[in-house]
Symmetry: C2
Subunit: 68 residues, 2 copies
């Protein structure tokens, strides 16, 4: 099990948090996604380390932007 | 057919707009709901004038606040 924390820009409300959690949570091997709306921090727990582009793609799919 | 415009506080993104449109749109007799995210203006077209408390209740249900 591995954890990585990213920063997502553009989330403004609980719906945004839900959209990011849903898209990132659908990536293969992801067990948990925690989001801090205030800071934009997205902590992803997964079986294996995830390719950054996979996470970025899911965030884009949700309508936001991975910035760190 | 009648139109009334309200002001809703707290909407920050397109998801918020969607939530308000959905809840207000479910009120009996409502034909159309238009929302301006920038101003918080919610224009409701309905068969008959709606009780203000019905609209306020739907907005609250969506998670926002009717302020005018």
């Amino acid at each position: 099990m591995t954890e990585a924390t990213y920063t997502v820009e553009g989330m403004t409300c609980a719906h945004c948090v839900g959209a990011v959690k849903e898209e990132v949570g659908e990536l293969a091997g992801v067990d948990a996604v925690e989001v801090d709306l205030e800071t934009g921090a997205v902590k992803v727990t997964s079986e294996q380390p995830l390719p950054r582009e996979a996470v970025a793609g899911a965030v884009t799919e949700a309508g936001y932007r991975l910035v760190a």
